[in-house]
Symmetry: C2
Subunit: 130 residues, 2 copies
DNA sequence: CTTGACCTTCCAGTCACTGGAATCCCTATA
DNA sequence: TATAGGGATTCCAGTGACTGGAAGGTCAAG
């Protein structure tokens, strides 16, 4: 299987797959012509990576998850710890974004949005508590 | 006012202020010794930028907001449009993150987190619909 | 005169790709 | 057999918004 086919099947751009090889996430063998030759195992790993990335896991987490996945002697606690940490980070991000959204939403609501220059958004940004 | 003081008062690292000068957001004059010499106007701008960035506005949005802030002939509609776009992006991000959080949260709940290798998190990542 | 805190510039690294250039390989058709 | 195309390869550079660090200049206090 060449990179184009495996990319289509794993749902990842070919560029990304080359990048994953660069950083050592996968190690596909090469054909005599120098093309990467992907088997089902490689494809499976790439699909795994695509799903982990879609859940927002960082690359280094993906590396660890992949390692654990291939380690028969893993404990589910290790996997769970990675996921829990990631969950915490996501919750924090959501909280931060929600605060931004609330503030911004109030400001946008308060702004007339017409041709006059007066604007509570700018007023809020420029209020000067220094 | 040197960069250290203005940094403390605006709540931005000195590095960031130098970076903002690099990309043309501010243009503080220089003392004879080559030090940046900040006045109240510069400080005000930096505080503005710090607040805009804290609301998650991108640098290019900040540049536009600053320009509008200084433009007496602005219309509040322009400002509102920028904020509304940003709000939309934030809402999208929140929605994406919430979807991740829900999925992850289910998986973490389903995982025993003990020393056994069986793990629904890995199972979900490796299920193979290709 | 020295010390230490501050300032300067410049370069490299972050994260996870992504775009593009230059070149090579394979297959099919005229 | 020539060629055209589509796909593969590598390598370099850029993204956003900083951040760390090195190497060196400046200033005020003791």
């Amino acid at each position: 299987m060449n990179i184009g086919e495996v990319a289509a099947r794993a749902g990842l751009p070919a560029k990304t797959i080359r990048y994953y090889e660069d950083i050592g996430l996968i190690k596909p063998p090469r054909d005599t012509n120098g093309y990467r030759a992907f088997g089902e195992v490689e494809l499976h790993k790439l699909a795994f990576l695509a799903r982990a990335r879609a859940l927002g896991f960082r690359i280094e987490d993906c590396r660890d998850l992949l390692r654990l996945y291939e380690d028969e002697a893993r404990s589910s606690a290790e996997v769970r710890a990675i996921a829990q940490q990631h969950l915490d980070r996501i919750a924090k991000k959501i909280a931060d974004l929600e605060e931004m959204r609330n503030t911004l939403s109030d400001l946008v609501d308060a702004c007339a949005g017409d041709q006059r220059p007066d604007c509570p958004i700018l007023a809020s940004l420029s209020k000067y508590p220094v």
